[in-house]
């Protein structure tokens, strides 16, 4: 149902006294995306346990395959190389047919992106095909982009933006750069057109002037800084961090305007854009970590997260939480800044755990526990332990998690 039709319907329901004024406002707020329904905690935790078990099992299987890789012939290697993308395809169809919730769809989209990258990279390695990081990222972005039209999941757009931005930056010295930028622009325009048809969604177009103004401000700032990195990547990352801080101040100014002058302002786009910018800055900070100045960048970005309105917990909720996890995963896997990754992740976990104990928050405690398990598992996988030992232990952990999940699902949750 379109927003306009919904509004007129609600007017009728109000007149007929089917619903009260307050209920009408709540319904409208919900469909405008201002209210997010709290998901069932038990369902969420259960999904998370499944995901954790799945990650452990997948890592265990990868370890077994790696251990025996030299015994596989070319055909077996190609089949294994294509396995991630084939399995992910099955998962996508399952998610679509089962009409899964947003959380699971986000997971499926993320998995699909990882699977495409993994398959292309594996096949490239098996056949010793040359290729560059930027082409891998741009191809992956192209291959996952149309998922948005199927799942209408915001994560697709965020991943697409991340991949293309990183890809474009890496391809700057290549002649095809202008073509890539053209494709990028067309994709964003396509998205805009599509979103224009679905006004209830809120990434590119929402019919509030403030959103268009905010979008223009964000892009102006972005474009102002982007050409800078043509000369110097270090400088670019620094400027991106500055952009994050500036956008934060801009967000504050908007909030003050909203509260003091009671101007109807919508901050959805501004907040989304800021999140994306933070992630991009973090990623680039990681790539260039050997430069001393990036200690400051890190502080900037982490500071930016803390400076934002609301508690850190609030900022880390919803879709951003997923991308924060993705960021953590990226940090762990990359191993590029093992020291910083450990410091950031362990500090975050300790902060969350302290908060959970202080507030006697069982839910937060379970989340911290799960994240800690995930962290330990990935660290263990990356360690220099024997591959077979890794494989056996990871599969055992996976089975334990599945059993725990079975018990957890069967238990009544009181709080």
């Amino acid at each position: 149902m379109s927003k306009i039709r919904l509004e007129s319907e609600i007017e009728i329901w109000k007149k007929e006294e089917f619903i009260s004024e307050e209920q009408a406002e709540k319904i409208l707020d919900y469909y405008k995306g201002n209210i997010k329904v709290k998901k069932n905690f038990k369902e969420n935790m259960s999904s998370l346990l499944y995901i954790l078990a799945g990650v452990c099992m997948a890592l265990g299987i990868i370890a077994i395959i790696s251990y025996n890789w030299s015994y596989f012939g070319m055909i077996e290697r190609v089949i294994i190389g294509l396995m991630p993308v084939v399995l992910s395809a099955g998962l996508c169809i399952y998610a679509y047919i089962k009409k899964s919730d947003t959380g699971f769809v986000n997971f499926v989209v993320l998995t699909n992106c990882g699977a495409v990258i993994a398959s292309i990279a594996l096949i490239g390695q098996i056949f010793h095909l040359n290729g560059s990081l930027y082409s891998l990222l741009i191809v992956t972005a192209g291959l996952i982009f149309f998922m948005f039209f199927v799942f209408e999941s915001l994560s697709t757009i965020i991943i697409f933006t991340l991949l293309t931005t990183v890809g474009v930056i890496y391809s700057l010295e290549i002649k095809e750069f202008s073509f890539i930028l053209f494709i990028y622009t067309v994709a964003i325009l396509l998205l805009g057109i599509y979103q224009g048809k679905f006004l209830d969604r809120n990434f590119i177009v929402r019919q509030k002037v403030s959103n268009f103004v905010n979008l223009a401000v964000c892009f102006s700032l972005y474009l102002l800084f982007v050409p800078k990195f043509l000369e110097n990547v270090d400088e670019f990352i620094f400027l991106m961090a500055v952009a994050v801080i500036l956008l934060r101040f801009y967000e504050y100014a908007m909030i003050i305007l909203y509260e003091k002058l009671e101007i109807p302002i919508d901050l959805v786009i501004l907040k989304k854009f800021n999140k994306i910018l933070i992630i991009i800055t973090i990623l680039f900070g990681l790539f260039e970590v050997e430069v001393q100045e990036f200690h400051i960048i890190y502080l900037f970005v982490i500071g930016g997260l803390f400076l934002s309105k609301g508690t850190l917990k609030e900022r880390m909720q919803d879709d951003f939480n997923i991308f924060y996890c993705l960021f953590c995963l990226f940090v762990i896997l990359s191993g590029l800044i093992a020291f910083y990754a450990d410091v950031v992740i362990i500090t975050s976990l300790v902060l969350y755990a302290t908060k959970a104990v202080k507030r006697n928050d069982y839910r937060l405690g379970v989340k911290v526990f799960n994240t800690a398990i995930f962290y330990i598992v990935v660290k263990f996988f990356m360690s220099s332990a024997d591959l077979m030992v890794k494989a056996i232990l990871l599969i055992v952990i996976s089975i334990i998690l599945l059993v725990v999940n079975k018990i957890f699902r069967g238990k009544k949750y009181e709080k």
Binding site: S66, Y67, W69, S70, V78, G81, L82, V85, V86, S88, A89, C92, I93, Y96, N112, V116, S119, I120, A121, L122, I123, G124, Q125, I126, F127, H128, L129, N130, S132, V139, L143, I144, F146, M147, F149, V150, L333, S334, G335, M382, L387
Partner: protein, 158 residues
């Protein structure tokens, strides 16, 4: 609408699966009649967590008498031992002469167990002849294998 989306999803997934297959097929098909060159290398064994184990190589490309450094198009031929020699360079695409634009020969992917052995072998047997066999055709190229005195390194260190 639901059916249209399902068809779109299936199309996306088919393209995703076909992409790596097409990349192998198209490259192999194009390089089927490519000239194969030897390029001398030396190596060591780093670990790239994102990409797995590989032997990091340092390629020693031979330049002809009148060539000082690489340009956009590097025209190549073979010496008497089959090694690639850059005989001429140009900013314009050459006609009827084989060339490369940029060769990334800094890594040779090898399994976890073999990488360590290969690295040890290469360190202990520096007197041996190490070279990559690379198929090159008008800028497109593919590494065929890494050889030690004419034997694939995987067979030597297994």
């Amino acid at each position: 609408m639901k059916n249209k989306k399902l068809i779109l999803l299936i199309m996306i997934l088919v393209v995703q699966i076909l992409t790596p297959i097409i990349s192998i097929y198209s490259k192999n098909l194009y390089l089927k009649d490519a000239e194969v060159y030897k390029i001398a290398v030396s190596g060591y064994d780093p670990y790239d967590v994102l990409r797995g184990k590989y032997l990091a190589l340092s390629a020693d490309i031979e330049f002809g008498d009148n060539v000082e450094w690489e340009k956009d198009y590097n025209i190549i031929s073979k010496n008497e031992n089959g090694y690639m020699v850059v005989t001429d360079v140009s900013y314009d695409e050459p006609e009827n002469r084989n060339y490369y634009q940029e060769l990334e020969l800094d890594r040779y992917y090898i399994t976890d167990k073999l990488a360590l052995k290969a690295e040890e072998y290469m360190r202990e047997n520096q007197d041996k002849e190490y070279y990559l066999e690379v198929a090159i055709k008008n800028g497109t190229y593919k590494i065929i294998n890494l050889y030690v005195d004419g034997v694939p390194i995987e067979e030597v260190v297994r």
